[in-house]
Symmetry: C2
Subunit: 444 residues, 2 copies
């Protein structure tokens, strides 16, 4: 207990030596977990894990884990190349030096566990190919949805399944903000400040609130679900910064909640197949299982041809939950070390990315206009000229302005965008609200 | 397409020959799925599956799959012993001949995929040991929760995790009945007849409504979560036949729903560890994620030391969903065929089973009594004499009888049982309602 370097392998359990790259929040949680529970993990899994070397940038920095000093180095490549090390855990994040280190590890014949969503969302296919040709594992359950066993569900349990759509709430920060705006009518700014105070948001929340974090996770989920080469650049991405409490109230009156939704969908038309990947605020029916995912929780809803509807739910972030996901991967990779794998994974396919322009959806459009006669006719004319049919309209007046909220029938994104451009040009229109797409409501 | 016996292996994908034992609802769904999608599955997974032989009891019976006749036999052992066959799928159900066939297959060096919950809940440890010593896979994702990737989550993703509790709704029939009773105030009998009509319940629903099906699944989940030898006999089991609409209405007024809940919990007191496994109708707070699992859906809620709270949700039954789970296992087993595994899984532990008597819970007790003065005092005296403290009481009168519903503070099961015996002896008590335990509400 707590002395992972000593007296390894006194019994039948094989000891696997792990080199850790990066020791921040998740890294420290992982070291604490494995140092404290190494024996219990061995009894449960048959694998005794020992984190024997840890590469960090700043050797002088104080860390929350005791008895760590003797294992530290500031030369990560020396850990990767250490012949005593069996497995590498990469928790540095970002593209470089993480990418070079993972490549070097795989070339050395070491399996790699990573939680690096940005790297996997941009270089995932290349790293997969490298792992396959090296006959080693590259596992990254922790890169999407914290401890939720989502990556394994898509890559193993549903490997033979024809997945139609994966959609989910994969960013806890924005879900916390939207939940607070909904529950307490806090403004976006107030909810954001609260999230930062409570540690649910970073001091610079850009990656979360603009949807970039969710977009990276969407690319990873889509790549696995459709066995395709999809990167974060392929993902249409809008954040939640334009959402106002009035949007949430309107949605609620109509039976919806607003969530930042990640959606990856497969379209087949004759011989053509395309994948549409998108992240944006969406209206979801309150009865949909995703609607009850509150606060910093994450959940992913999968629709398969044969499996039907599945949902996986849990804590999507936090050092401890993420460390748990890394641990699950480490146990799998450690077990894999004692196998000789000759199985060939098919290469990820290059698929056509369907542009957001071709999305067919129902939309919610908010217009703030001068409160004068004839405005409604002007606005309706713009909708009509683009062939966008209105399902319902709600109008509230304040002072000299009218706030009109339209829900459309099924319409094409390109037509809706043209409608928005047309509306912007009207003298009577003061401001357009953020565009909301309705998701998971296809029957209507 | 549809001609699995012809021209195998024209490309790089290896072809894996599967022998199927049993061809009922799930079996036919599996054959249709693999016959139709063999090429697509190969492209997605790198494994071309072909069901080349199918053992059935009655060769003459009509089946929904075309082009099946040439593959049929009524000698299952000949399939198991066929040297051309790589993998065995067992969908016969029950103990014999399924057990002997699986044992023979593992001894022949063939990995086995099974959906047989009764067999795994009674002989799981023995079969696991046999698979381990044969170095082959024994996979059974389909035995619990249909297509929900629960078995893999517990056995792989959470392998290193210290799981405290697994609880879930694992029987779709009873969940459908309880949902209908709750939504439409149908009686138990009416809801059951509706469930049978719609195919959500068997003509003989005993195994479902008495909780036996859920108990078998609980034993399987507990065995994996705690790496322990736990059988269906260890599971305390009560069904839903005594639930009346009044119970559901009372629960609802207090903020609860009633579900048939499977619970597997680990208790540690000093050096002692014990596992309590139980299935019974339970009251769950409406805000708990399990409370929104409606109709024939299943869901399992897992509480881990580091992973926190996880929930997996989906269709728990049906030929197509179950076939999807079998397919996921088949792909994994097929990939495993090309590995040489030297890894040793630790043996399942023999753990102490905690008797239900030692459960500590809050309870809901319903008493129908003669409506006369002094009854309340007599009843309260029985509670008091057993040290069971009452948190709240609600009384409704009808004709000459009073219906009293008590919710207790935290109490010990043995004391509550003694209270029930004491209450039964009272002249004024006409009938005791079914005992309800509150679950997932420990803070109160």
């Amino acid at each position: 207990m707590g002395r992972p370097n000593d007296e390894l392998a006194q019994d039948n359990f094989s000891t696997v030596r792990v080199g850790l790259l990066g020791c921040g929040n998740v890294g420290c949680a992982l070291v604490s977990l494995i140092d404290a529970e190494s024996e219990a993990i061995a009894e449960r899994t048959g694998v005794r894990l020992a984190i024997t070397r840890i590469a960090v940038r700043d050797l002088a920095k104080r860390r929350s884990v005791p008895e760590i000093a003797s294992r530290l180095t500031d030369d990560p490549m020396s850990v990767v190349e250490d012949e005593e090390i069996d497995l590498i855990v990469e928790l540095i994040g970002g593209i470089e030096p993480a990418e070079s280190l993972i490549e070097a590890a795989l070339r050395e014949g070491k399996s790699v566990v990573s939680a690096n969503k940005d790297l996997l969302a941009s270089r995932g296919t290349k790293l997969h190919d490298l792992a396959a040709s090296a006959g080693r594992d590259l596992l990254y359950e922790a890169a999407v949805g914290g401890a939720i066993p989502l990556v394994r569900a898509l890559s193993v349990s549903l490997a033979g399944e024809r997945v139609h759509r994966v959609m989910g709430i994969v960013n806890g920060t924005t879900n916390y903000i939207l939940t607070r705006m909904s529950e307490s009518s806090a403004s976006y700014e107030e909810a954001l400040i609260e999230a930062i105070k409570l540690g649910f948001a970073e001091a610079d929340p850009t990656a979360d609130v603009e949807g970039y974090d969710a977009a990276a996770k969407t690319a990873i989920m889509a790549s696995i679900a459709f066995n395709a080469d999809i990167t974060a650049h392929d993902v249409y991405c809008r954040g939640i910064t334009e959402i106002v409490v009035a949007d949430i109230d309107f949605a609620s009156r109509r039976g919806y909640v607003i969530k930042l939704l990640a959606v990856a969908e497969r379209f087949v038309e004759g011989e053509d197949e395309s994948i549409l990947v998108r992240v944006h605020p969406a209206m979801i029916r309150k009865s949909h299982p995703l609607a009850s995912v509150h606060g910093a929780f994450n959940a992913v809803f999968i629709e398969g041809e044969h499996a039907g509807e599945l949902m996986l739910y849990g804590r999507g972030a936090g050092g401890s939950a993420t460390a748990s996901a890394v641990l699950g991967d480490l146990v799998e990779a450690a077990r894999g070390l004692q196998r000789v794998t000759t199985f060939e994974q098919p290469a990820r396919r290059h698929v056509q990315i369907r542009p957001i322009d071709q999305l067919s959806s129902t939309y919610c459009i908010t217009i703030e206009a001068k409160d004068r006669t004839g405005v409604m006719a002007e606005v309706a004319d713009v909708f009509g000229s683009q062939g966008v049919s209105i399902r319902s309209m709600e109008q509230t007046d304040s002072y000299s302005e009218a706030r009109m909220v339209f829900i459309t029938h099924l319409a094409r994104e390109s037509d809706v965008q043209a409608t928005l451009h047309g509306l912007e040009k009207l003298d009577s229109v003061v401001r357009l609200g953020g565009l909301l797409r309705v998701v998971g409501d296809e029957d209507e």
